[in-house]
């Protein structure tokens, strides 16, 4: 399989540590255009940290991070910000602006982007709300008035506001009911088909993983342990991978009535 040469994200030789505690050691990862890359790994393995490094919220102790084929910090201030704007991010905790209503939270990136008329912004915001299955009346609520899953969905709507070419999603389906996470997968798939998005998402949910990902990266032992299609990763024989992917199978096999 020959992959296109210029990856959307290139991580090379990433080393990260907090105090004495190593999170990444010599980590390599390329994300290709059009990927639906699932990043999986145990809790505390450093997935969130890696996502933050991809868009420059955090700097690795050493190593190279390239976004859209350019070094993260290359170019003038305007160029750096423009590069970031091409990526939409869903934070693990939502990170909604608590002083702004749901509507204004989603409209924020659109207004910052500039050039859009207010009623266009309104239509776009409402369509994003519709995408994540929220009603127009939810638009006037404040973040503190939302349930946990709704926070997640509003945050997702905000990440999608500009329909950016790169989406970074930190546990997008955590806190959603199974039906909603199924429809979320459909939504991301249709956006991906229509717009050629590149999506990197962290998940612990094997259903989402198998339904959405076309590539899987396993982060364990401070590096990317395996990278490839789900089947390729399945085939790798490593204690962590065995546990992570086979856990469900054993549960399914044992999970007869009575449990």
């Amino acid at each position: 399989m020959s992959l296109p040469a210029n990856p959307v994200i290139r991580l090379q030789g990433i080393h990260t540590r907090y105090g004495q505690h190593w999170v990444h050691q010599d980590l390599q990862l390329d994300v290709q255009r059009g990927d639906l890359l699932a990043l999986v790994g145990g809790s505390g393995a450093g997935k969130t940290t890696l996502l933050r490094q991809m868009i420059g919220l955090q700097k690795p102790d050493s190593g190279i991070v390239e976004l859209f084929g350019e070094a993260l910090m290359a170019g003038s201030r305007a160029e750096r910000f423009a590069r970031r704007r091409r990526a939409g991010v869903l934070f693990q905790q939502g990170a909604l602006f608590s002083a702004l209503s749901v509507f204004d939270n989603i409209a924020f990136p659109l207004r910052e982007f500039g050039g859009l008329l207010e009623d266009e912004i309104r239509a776009l915001v409402l369509s994003r709300l519709d995408m994540v299955e929220l009603k127009p009346q939810h638009a006037v609520l404040m973040p503190a008035q939302l349930s946990g899953g709704m926070v997640k969905r509003v945050a997702l709507a905000r990440a999608l506001a500009l329909e950016p070419e790169l989406l970074l999603l930190d546990e997008p389906t955590a806190g959603l009911d199974p039906e909603r996470s199924g429809r979320f997968v459909d939504l991301i798939r249709s956006l991906h088909d229509g717009l050629g998005l590149t999506v990197v998402f962290v998940t612990h949910d094997l259903d989402t993983l198998s339904a959405l990902a076309n590539r899987v990266a396993v982060l364990a032992e401070h590096r990317i342990l395996a990278l490839g299609s789900l089947d390729e990763v399945h085939a790798v024989d490593h204690p962590f991978i065995n546990k992570f992917f086979r856990y469900r199978q054993t549960v399914d096999e044992a999970g007869e009535p009575g449990l």
Partner: protein, 380 residues
């Protein structure tokens, strides 16, 4: 891989364009928000000029159409679909995503003619709720104190000592500096006047009574309200935002015992000490200035001070310090616990806390002045 190939093709898509051929409008290129942004004005104008009344739209040349591109086209149609529309499945999906929202309206808030009345009522109610919450907290603090007497184990010593360190110990340098400088300034200004009347020795009376009885406590209160009061409000407020206070309640720990009490007690103890410390610094500043300007030796100053300033003044100053400290802590906690879980409310309450604390201190000071008007002022 098909997906990657398509993604690559999209990358090289030409910019958006529009052509009118008779009744036909042909769109081509990349109709996505990022591609449209640099030529937004032009595209809007083109759509308005060329798109008007066209019966046939051909979008087969469009490589990418996102919701914004679809929205622009939809707005050009103004609710009337063209007779012929050539689009593929992906583009139809983009139109479907935006079509319902383009027409939808936000639930609007009706104009409310009773607004002034409502505003008045809300203001009064909120004033009432302040009084109620404050009384509530005061009562709980007293009850907790009684519980401590029965059950000494529940006294939060650690929190108390941390609060004492932060509010007292760490305030020492800044309060000494401010006190010293105020002392110098006060002494300098008084010395200029007193020299005119040849009453240089009176500077000891003026500085002594003024600083020990009045300036020391008020000065420290203002410093502490700004320093510790705002810190307490912000801390409790953030704990409210991050639901830590709810977590405490869920574990069956009283917020008044764990959060309010240590701070009130810490300020009640730290403030008199700070008042003594700051007054001493201010007097030192005054002494230095008097020595330089009026040739009153500092040793004479120090020995004359107890004779001209009755000791009651010191007691009043320290008592005021304690009372002001309790007031500041209670007000700071009150506003901290009222923070709503958003950043706006946090900043509003922190501001309100400091302003209210300083105002309350000055009011209290006036009351103190009335109640103690016969004490410690030598009338000859």
């Amino acid at each position: 891989m098909k997906r990657h190939a398509r993604a690559q093709a999209l990358l090289k898509a030409p910019p958006p364009s529009l052509q009118r051929q008779g009744q036909r409008v042909v769109l081509a290129g990349d109709w996505s928000l990022f591609a449209l942004r640099p030529r937004l004005l032009w595209t809007r104008a083109q759509l308005r000029l060329q798109g008007r009344g066209a019966e046939e739209w051909d979008l087969t040349g469009v490589s990418r159409l996102d919701a914004f591109g679809a929205l622009l086209v939809l707005r050009c149609w103004a609710g009337r679909e063209p007779a012929t529309l050539v689009i593929d499945e992906r583009q139809r999906a983009a139109f479907e995503r935006i079509r319902a929202s383009a027409a939808a309206v936000l639930p609007t808030v009706r104009r409310d003619w009773l607004l002034p009345v409502r505003w008045l009522g809300q203001t009064l109610c909120s004033a009432g709720s302040h009084v109620r919450d404050f009384a509530d907290m005061l009562g709980m603090v007293v009850l907790e104190a009684m519980r401590f007497a029965i059950e000494p184990r529940s006294i939060p010593f650690k929190e108390f000592s941390a609060a004492l360190y932060k509010a007292g110990m760490q305030a020492l340098p800044i309060s000494a500096l401010v006190g010293f400088l105020i002392g110098v300034v006060l002494s300098y200004l008084s010395a200029l006047q007193l020299r005119n009347f040849g009453a240089e020795a009176l500077i000891i009376n003026i500085l002594g009574i003024g600083i020990i009885r009045e300036l020391g406590p008020v000065l420290v209160s203002i410093l502490v309200a700004g320093r510790s009061g705002s810190a307490i409000t912000a801390q409790l407020g953030v704990m409210r935002v991050t639901e830590e206070i709810d977590a405490l309640s869920a574990m069956g720990v009283s917020r008044y015992q764990r959060l309010v009490w240590p701070k009130v007690l810490a300020l009640a103890i730290a403030m008199p000490l700070l008042v003594a410390w700051t007054s001493a610094a201010a007097l030192a500043g005054g002494m230095v200035c008097a020595d330089v300007l009026l040739d009153i030796e500092w040793a004479y100053f120090a020995s004359a001070l107890p004779n001209v300033v009755p000791i009651q003044n010191l007691y009043i100053g320290l008592a005021k310090g304690g009372a002001f400290g309790v007031t500041i802590a209670l007000i700071a906690c009150h506003f901290g616990l009222r923070v709503k879980p958003n950043t706006e409310s946090l900043s509003a309450n922190t501001t309100a806390s400091v302003v209210t604390a300083i105002t309350a201190v000055i009011l209290l000071d006036a009351i103190f002045a009335m109640l103690t008007r016969g004490i410690g002022v030598p009338l000859r």
